[in-house]
Symmetry: C2
Subunit: 338 residues, 2 copies
Amino acid sequence: MSKPQGARQPTIKEVANLAGVSPMTASRTLAGGRNVRPDLQERVMAAVRELGYFRNENARSLRPGQPSGLIGIAITNLANPYYGSFALGVEEVAAEHGRRIILGNTGEDVARERQLVSDFIGRQVDGLILVPTSGDAAHLRPERLGHVPLVLASRRVPGLDVDTVLLDDVGGSYRGTISLLDAGHTRIGFLGNRTSVFTGERRYRGFERAMTERGVPIDTAIVARDQQDVDAASRAARVMLDLDEPPTAIFSANNRNSIGALREIGRRIRDGLPGPHPSMVSFDDFELSELMPVPVTVIDHDARLLGREAATLLFARLDDDTAEAARTVELPVTIEYP
Amino acid sequence: MSKPQGARQPTIKEVANLAGVSPMTASRTLAGGRNVRPDLQERVMAAVRELGYFRNENARSLRPGQPSGLIGIAITNLANPYYGSFALGVEEVAAEHGRRIILGNTGEDVARERQLVSDFIGRQVDGLILVPTSGDAAHLRPERLGHVPLVLASRRVPGLDVDTVLLDDVGGSYRGTISLLDAGHTRIGFLGNRTSVFTGERRYRGFERAMTERGVPIDTAIVARDQQDVDAASRAARVMLDLDEPPTAIFSANNRNSIGALREIGRRIRDGLPGPHPSMVSFDDFELSELMPVPVTVIDHDARLLGREAATLLFARLDDDTAEAARTVELPVTIEYP
DNA sequence: CAGCCTGTTGGTAACGTTACCAACCTCCAC
DNA sequence: GTGGAGGTTGGTAACGTTACCAACAGGCTG
């Protein structure tokens, strides 16, 4: 009375019996109907409709070598709009290839990443797409992955030679910094991620290169590289701007830091603190940047395209298994001046 | 030379042979090791490590009645940050219950939704969470779903009596509109979605209720209810603000319309058009709303919590299959004044 | 010491799919 | 008309898991 609540799913045998054919013919019909007489197909499909049968997609991958039609994705933070768009890009290309995605959020936790990846492989995914967390990456070596193809996105993993899609972090940061220098700024603050984060390192490098090239010294008092969230970024900006010699411009290496810095700048304007308030360059776009109270130059990129490229690399690897060397695609960024 | 490129996955038999036990014992060990002698478990695990075996999660759900550990989610637009957070909320709760999510993007296309749902069921998902598209919903009736539990989020589907999580759209819009009326506005524009979109209808209703209650007439010349994207919203705002009697405040029923309206307002300010420029109420938060050139009241909500609640409803249904009536959870919204 | 319970191990079957093989049909060319 | 080709149908096996049953050991109680 209590257990068989949920109206059991019909079996393929029941479908076959109702249609008056063998389970083989029923199964073949579900598989596309090659070499099955049209009238029998019709009877099978009628039985399928009547009983509400769904072809079991999991059973297909039971046989070794058969694709499951699943792509596993692990990203670091799905709440970040960029990663949502990234996942969408992957999903689109996967759908074009008749695949579905299994999605997991790592939250920058290596243990969770390891767990997700092994679960994905246990579900017989045809491929993996990861935004890797920074940490030990032994669990991502090909033999540990059962040789399931892997594509990395946004970040590279040291010692792991696999297909990768990246942004032009260095070039974008370089050009953004140059635009500040061209505008006459010589005292430029830097807000960014920990050095251990791949993009944090690269974006700092672009900043550094532009400064060095123009012979402008980098003052470590206005370089803050340890903010992961908006509030920490606000505090770092506040410290910088309270100095006796505050920066006249701030380079922010990502979205979270840009929002935090602008919150602090907005607060200072509202509180009537004396200016001039710093100009900004933000790596990562955010909406309504043109309405900010200080000029904001935006280094923008297309996260959805990044996802599409990652998936495209993966399917290229799946379709053509010639063991050519790992490929890296570096997507351009665009700079939008205020 | 060309085919067997990808180093075949080992079979359970190979693991069993290497460990010197029967496949049964190997399988039991992978399943948790109940009633298996510790030393045999150790030998099996050693063989698993050596061969790189992964327990096949798909094979489990082959037997009818066995859970697959998968939850299917279909949402309308993953690029919308709210839905990314929503998916994250679902993923978190699913992970807490040892489940993974399969994710699909419908893009408001009913055919795609139908296709996704039937694929999910074919993959033996234990449950479904949908942000339904507005359209024919015959494919969502329980018997068409093989009686897989379904939870709807954000929107209800007419004639479908299932567990649902909603926002307090009506109450939030009502209170937001009241705040404009309290501030003395009597000429209030409305920007929103098509009436056929569930939330569009509800949010208009809250707006209407507040206006009617205070006896303020609604002028259809400043009501625009057909914008789905930012650009359309900008154009609609422009038309409104170019009238001889422009609104002194605008109520925007969602994120996309708020951004569009503010772009247009920003443009007018930059171009030096005469004010006063309209105040705004925005259903849906967006970052840096406090830095806008006009006062913006925000009706905010927690999309991640919405996802968590949807998943919680689903797991309640899965754990306790007493066929109690469908439940609706309506989450509160918060109003942040400028 | 007989009987029984428990823990351990293996065997078998079933789930749905696909690969392979066997049997049968029709149809056409010779 | 005979033979072969090709289409159609069913059977069998295999994949890995879990439910069930059987067999056996060891230890316990009466």
